[in-house]
C-alpha cells in the first residue's frame, strides 16, 4: 500500500469513528425528552404528609422500609438526572442512622419517625445509602443506591 493510500485509510477510519460517535450519541436532552421522562415516574407520591404547594413539578419520592435490619424487597436503585430534587423517606422498625455517601448527608430514623432526605442531585455518579446500624451489626449495610445521570 502506498503512503497516500495509508493516509487515506487512516483519515477515512477516523472520519467513520467521529461520525459514528456523533450519530450514536443521544442529542442534548435538556429539551422535551427529559420532560417526558420525569412526568410518569412519580405515581406513588400521594401520601403527602408534607404538602409542598410551590415547586412544580413535585419531585418523586422513594419510600424504603427496613424491617429486622434488612431492606424490604432488597436495596433499590434510585435513578435521577442531575439537577433534579431527590426525596427519599426511609422508615425503620428500630432506631437507625442512614448515610448517603458522596453527598455526605446523614439522617436518623426512629421506630415511629422515618428518616427524610431531600436535596438537589448536583453530583453525577453512583452513591450508596448505608445503614450504620446494620454495618455495626456486621450485616450488609446497603439500603439503596442513588444513580445520578448527566442532565
Amino acid at each position: 500500500m502506498s503512503s497516500a493510500a495509508k493516509a487515506g485509510l487512516l483519515i477515512g477510519a477516523i472520519a467513520i469513528a467521529v461520525v459514528a460517535f456523533l450519530v450514536a450519541r443521544p442529542a442534548d436532552d435538556d429539551g422535551d425528552r427529559r420532560a417526558a421522562q420525569i412526568t410518569p415516574s412519580e405515581p406513588q407520591d400521594q401520601g403527602s404528609d408534607q404538602a409542598e404547594p410551590s415547586a412544580p413539578p413535585p419531585p418523586a419520592t422513594t419510600r424504603i422500609r427496613i424491617r429486622d435490619g434488612a431492606v424490604v424487597g432488597g436495596a433499590p436503585d434510585i435513578k435521577v438526572d442531575k439537577g433534579e430534587t431527590v426525596r427519599i423517606v426511609i422508615s425503620a422498625d428500630a432506631a437507625d442512622e442512614l448515610h448517603l455517601h458522596g453527598y455526605d448527608i446523614t439522617r436518623e430514623a426512629e421506630a415511629d419517625r422515618p428518616a427524610r432526605f431531600r436535596f438537589e442531585a448536583d453530583l453525577e455518579g453512583a452513591f450508596e445509602i448505608e445503614s450504620h446500624t446494620a454495618e455495626d451489626a456486621g450485616k450488609d449495610p446497603l439500603v439503596a443506591r442513588l444513580l445520578v445521570g448527566p442532565s
Binding site: I16, A20, R25, L123, G125, A126, F127, G138, P150
Partner: protein, 456 residues
C-alpha cells in the same frame, strides 16, 4: 467485600450507556482492521534507542542525593502506614493507612509509572532499607559482605505473582482487609519476608524479579518513554521498553493475576456474580463455615476462577498461534507476546479505578495531616474535603472507553511488531497475528462489558 463496601469509594461510576458500549466495540473492530493494513512491514520497536536527557539533567535526576531523598521519603511513608495502622482509629476512611495503600500507592503509582517511568524504584522503602543495611554491615565489619545466593531461574516472577495475588485477596476477599490494624500487620509481614529474601538473594536481584510491587510497577513503567540507566535518566522510543521486557517463569501468570483481579472486582457487583455467589456461600455454609468465612471462601473461589479463566484464554490464543507453524511451542509464544498484555492490564486498571484515584486520592491531604484520625492537624490540611464534582459522568465514560480502545491499539501494535521480529516468514507473522488479534478483541470486549455492568 470490595473497596466499595469499605467506604473508600464515596462516588462510584455509572455503567456506560448502551450506545457508547456499541460505539466502543465497533471502534475496536475498525481499529483492528485498519491497524492490520497500516502497521509497518519491518519490526521497529525491538531496539530502544535510549538517549540521556540533555544538559546533565538526566544525571542530576538520578543522582545519589536524589535517590537518598526519595528512599528516605519511601521509608518515612512505610513507617507512617504501620504507625497509623497500629495506633490510629480503626475507621478505614479516617485512618491514613487504607487510603494510602489502596489508592495513593496501589493506583497512584501506576499512573506515575506510566507517565514518568520506574519512579517506585527510587522510592522503594525495602530497597532503601536493604542498601542501608548492606552499607552499615560493610562499615561495621570493615570487610566485603558474603556473596548472595544465585537467584533460582525457575523461581522467576513467581514470588511477585504470590505477592500481587495476596494483595488482591486482601483487597477483594478478606472482609476486614480494610481495617488499619490488619493492613499494618500485613505490611510488616510483607516487609519482613522481603528483607529475608533480600538478605538471601541480594537487594537488586530480589527487586528485579521477586519483590511484588517493584515488578508490578516496573511493568507499567515500560510504557513510559523515560528510563534510568547507570544512574542517568534518558528517553527511549515509545513502547520499546515493553518490547525489551524479558519474560521469566511466572510473568504470564502475573499479568493474568492483574487482569483477572480487576475483572473480578468489576464483575463481583454485577448480576452474573451476585446471581451465583449466594449458592456458593450456602454450599460453604453447609460445610460448617461461619457466614463471614463462607463469604470469604466464596470470593476467593471467584477471584481464583477469574484469574484462571483469563490465563486460560490467553494460553488458548497462543496455542492457536502455534498452529500456524514456525516451530515455536505454545509456552514460547505465550512468553514472546506477554508484554502485549501490559497495555491491556493498564486499560483495565485505568478504566476501573481512575475515578477512585481522582476522588479518594484527594483525601490524602486531610489524612496526612490527621493520620491517626484523632483530630490532629499537622500540616493545616486536615479539613480538606473530597470534591466529587471534578469530573462528570459523561467525561468519565469517554475516558473509560478511551482507555480500553487505547490499550487495544497499543497491544495490537506491540503484537504486530513482535510477530514480525519472531517469524522469518512474513506470511506466518500475519497469520499468527489473527490469533493474537482474537485474544485482544476478547479482552477488550470483556473490558467494555464490565464497564457496562451495573456495578455498585
Amino acid at each position: 467485600m470490595s473497596l466499595i463496601a469499605h467506604g473508600l469509594v464515596g462516588r462510584s461510576d455509572l455503567p456506560i450507556p448502551e450506545w457508547l458500549f456499541g460505539w466502543g466495540a465497533a471502534m475496536v473492530l475498525v481499529v483492528s482492521f485498519v491497524a492490520l493494513a497500516l502497521l509497518w512491514p519491518q519490526p521497529k520497536l525491538q531496539r530502544e534507542h535510549w538517549r540521556a536527557l540533555p544538559g546533565g539533567l538526566g544525571r542530576a535526576l538520578a543522582s545519589r542525593a536524589v535517590e537518598l531523598i526519595c528512599g528516605a521519603l519511601g521509608v518515612f511513608l512505610l513507617g507512617m502506614v504501620i504507625w497509623s495502622g497500629l495506633r490510629g482509629t480503626q475507621s478505614p476512611t479516617a485512618n491514613f493507612a487504607p487510603t494510602f495503600i489502596y489508592v495513593i500507592f496501589w493506583l497512584g503509582l501506576v499512573a506515575v509509572s506510566v507517565l514518568f517511568g520506574d519512579v517506585f524504584r527510587a522510592f522503594n522503602p525495602w530497597r532503601a532499607v536493604g542498601w542501608a543495611c548492606a552499607w552499615l554491615a560493610r562499615t561495621v565489619s570493615r570487610a566485603e559482605l558474603p556473596k548472595p545466593l544465585d537467584y533460582p531461574r525457575q523461581l522467576g516472577n513467581w514470588p511477585a505473582v504470590a505477592g500481587i495475588f495476596a494483595f488482591a485477596v486482601m483487597e477483594l476477599v478478606v472482609s476486614d482487609g480494610d481495617e488499619p490494624h490488619n493492613l499494618a500487620v500485613a505490611t510488616m509481614v510483607y516487609s519482613a519476608a522481603t528483607f529475608i529474601a533480600m538478605a538471601l538473594y541480594g537487594v537488586e536481584a530480589w527487586i528485579e524479579r521477586g519483590e511484588a510491587f517493584s515488578v508490578y510497577f516496573n511493568l507499567f513503567s515500560r510504557l513510559s518513554p523515560f528510563e534510568t540507566r547507570d544512574h542517568v535518566v534518558g528517553l527511549r522510543r515509545p513502547l520499546s521498553g515493553l518490547a525489551a521486557l524479558k519474560p521469566v517463569a511466572g510473568t504470564v501468570a502475573l499479568l493474568a493475576v492483574v487482569i483477572g483481579s480487576v475483572t473480578f472486582d468489576g464483575a463481583a457487583e454485577g448480576p452474573l456474580w451476585t446471581g451465583i455467589a449466594p449458592d456458593i456461600v450456602n454450599f460453604f455454609d453447609d460445610l460448617g463455615l461461619s457466614t463471614q468465612r463462607a463469604f470469604e471462601v466464596t470470593f476467593l473461589v471467584g477471584l481464583t476462577a477469574t484469574i484462571l479463566l483469563i490465563h486460560g484464554f490467553y494460553r488458548l490464543g497462543t496455542i492457536g498461534a502455534r498452529s500456524v507453524g514456525g516451530g515455536f511451542s505454545a509456552l514460547q509464544l505465550a512468553r514472546a507476546f506477554v508484554h502485549t498484555l501490559v497495555p491491556i492490564a493498564l486499560a483495565y486498571v485505568a478504566a476501573h479505578y481512575f475515578t477512585l484515584l481522582l476522588f479518594q486520592g484527594q483525601a490524602f491531604w486531610a489524612l496526612i495531616s490527621d493520620p491517626l484520625g484523632n483530630g490532629s492537624d499537622l500540616f493545616g490540611t486536615a479539613d480538606r474535603q473530597v470534591d466529587y464534582a471534578v469530573i462528570g459522568a459523561n467525561a468519565t465514560w469517554y475516558w473509560q472507553v478511551g482507555f480500553v480502545v487505547g490499550g487495544h491499539v497499543l497491544a495490537l501494535t506491540l503484537a504486530h511488531d513482535r510477530a514480525l521480529a519472531l517469524y522469518e516468514d512474513t506470511k506466518l507473522a500475519v497469520r499468527s497475528q489473527y490469533w493474537m488479534l482474537a485474544v485482544m478483541v476478547g479482552f477488550t470486549s470483556l473490558a467494555l462489558w464490565l464497564l457496562s455492568q451495573a456495578n455498585g
